[in-house]
Amino acid sequence: MREKPTIRIIAHIWMFIVSMLALLPFQLLIIASFTDNNYASIHGFSFFPKQWSADAYLYIMNKWATIGRAYLMTIIVTIVGVALSIIITTLFAYGLSNTKLPGVKVISFLVIFTMLFNGGLVSTYYSYVNLFHIRNTIWALIFPGLLMNAFNIILVKNYIRNSIPPSLMEAARIDGASEYTIFFRIVVPLSIPILATIGLLTGIAYWNDWQNGLYYLTQRDGGHLYTIQVVLNTINESITFLAVNPDTSVTSVTDLPSTTVRMAIAMVGIIPIILAYPFFQKYFVKGITLGGVKE
């Protein structure tokens, strides 16, 4: 079976262009984080700065103990959150994928409704703090907003409906398998690509979230639970605050964090994802092929 290489060449060219467009700014980010701030103020960020400096990173590393623990928290929260999220979402989506289920249309509507309408911070906070008491617990980082969302449910539901042959499931049912068996033995293994997808998207969402930590954890009693983005975001916010409120009679402005610090902060947040991502890529590759392979 000889294939003309044309499509492959086109594919490579296209992917190369897109990848380069993605990579170059990232390189600029790395270089910017190592640029001397005074030089950057005068000459702007460029690929070839004449003055380098690791000051931005040193500034962050001053808070090293916090950052080390914050990384740990982020990893824990992300792993637990993603695991729970995949489980809940997939179970739910499997239910929804059954078009004959009574009420499936209503439930689908209710799911999508949540994508559109939101009660807002005040009532959400009230509910989580007063009714469910998650303040200053680790659940405050896992539950609000991120554990399951309508978008992921729909992605998985569609995938199950469109990519898994119903005949396979019917055959198993006739053989006497329970729905749970079908779910675990057939649906899940065949859905690995989409599960990996929502796992990735949810993982990134957890990793990047700083709002849950900010609202539900107090600095004193919950500060040890801060994730990396919360810590970094507070540094960012302090920069913003100083820019907007320059009245120095009230705020002492010494040891001002600068623009390059923001770049270093971004790097500190991104690098772990970049390092971890390749390990999970194999799940995006073709899933288990069909064609009569029995589990």
Binding site: I42, N62, N136, F183, F184, Q219, V231, T248, S249, D255
Partner: protein, 531 residues
Amino acid sequence: MKKILALILISSMMAVMLTGCGNNNATSTDKSTEVQGSESQSANENGEESSEKVAVENGEIYEVIMQWPSYGDSPPGLADVEDAINEIIEAEIGVRLKLEPVLVTNLLNETALKVSSGEKLDLCLALNTGVGPYVNNGSIIPLDTLAADYGKDIMEICGNSLAGGYYNKILYGIPCAYINGEEYGYAARTDLLEKYGYEIDPDTYYDLEFMEELFATVKAGEGENFFMVAGGANSDMAFESSTPYDKLGATKASGVLPLWKSWEDTEIVNLFASDYYAAYAQRMYDWAQKRYLSSDMATTSESRVGLVASGNYLGCFAGNISGGKMAEADYSNQTGMDMTLIRLVEPYSAMNMFQNVLWCIPATCENPEKTMQFFNYLYIDNRISNLLAYGIEGVSYVVVERGEDNSVIALPEGFTIDNLPYYSRFGVYGNRLNQHVKSPGTLTSLKELRDWSENITRKSPALGYCFVSDSVSAEYSAVTAVIVQYQAIISAGGANPEEQLPRFLADLEAAGINKVIEENQRQLDKWLADQ
């Protein structure tokens, strides 16, 4: 079998979800908590954070929870400072202080959320927002009677500046006691001033013409890519630093009193329609053409001091530069270079100056009387405010020169701001004119400042009046949006004002600025009549 597995799975998840509810108290790092009585502050909540409802030891001690503005970190020495304070106040007034660090940009949100869910909070800080937003969403309580009964010393010490806490004629917030007015100016690099032969007299007040002349000279010498005015985005600092005016407790969106023209006139004008502003806009455009201002001024991401520190700028318009030598030293510290302050506006008093730091009592305070009592004590006993402002002697600072009430202090050997056990970046506590002085200040610095403050004679005729925007909030918001759209470009001289200003004014009118100003005038006239 799979069924069972599934059921186990699901139930364990439920268990997980539910145990989350009860896990609350385990992580509290409170020391002992002796909370006076009441479990239910308001009718609609059934839980508080870290609520160890422990029986009180001696039923007299009330815990005051006070916000502590921070940059996101909780200093390790915070508990020690609390202990030192509590040693004093528990005995004196039967109050126990608990500090709650809050990210400074999140103060408003944090207070709102706490009040909305019924969590106890006794003292909250309104920093640079005024009390307006807090009153509008009902987070704080009026302080008139409380201050009269329990805060007599505060009222005396704060004097004029107490005016900043009024909203709709009711007292809602208490400022920290500091100076009675402000003066404004420009911070220039000393080395460049010397290079071009400029001697700045600290007692003279210069003007923008002088600045222009200075700029011309330095620019000619330093060249094309060297700039005269470091500006961050959205800062109208040149205007703020050179013009006396009164925003009447609100913003430019509701009109101003033109103090540059008259100190008695109480007619509110649309600042942007005034001749003064037109001249100012023209001057900025001119400066941009002459490249005194960088063409990136409106969009740069760096702060003013950061830009000056980079070495490519003569200096920046510094806004409020009250504080004489100490302010100068402060600026020099920030930029890392020796700076000289050029005074442009003689000191005066206006409402907005006293709205920067306001302490309020939220609706979920359980014992406002005791809280006010504590707060009053903060102003008269400078041991407490020194502890809050600087930490514990010998640990977070060392005494350089000991004085009677207060001393000159400095950082301990080998410490920087980052590794101090306790460091407060915000001067917001108590009577700031009765606290330690940081070197290179001297023992007489505060007295000088006090004298200077008492000698401020120029006062806005509307001092004490604050505009309430409720009835025109839609127009007020729309006008604010228009100002955001045009102001930055005009202050950076980025567009020809002959084209920009007419458009700006037309948009302001369309958004309803006249309606807002009318309302403002109506309220002001009523307030004046009531005086």
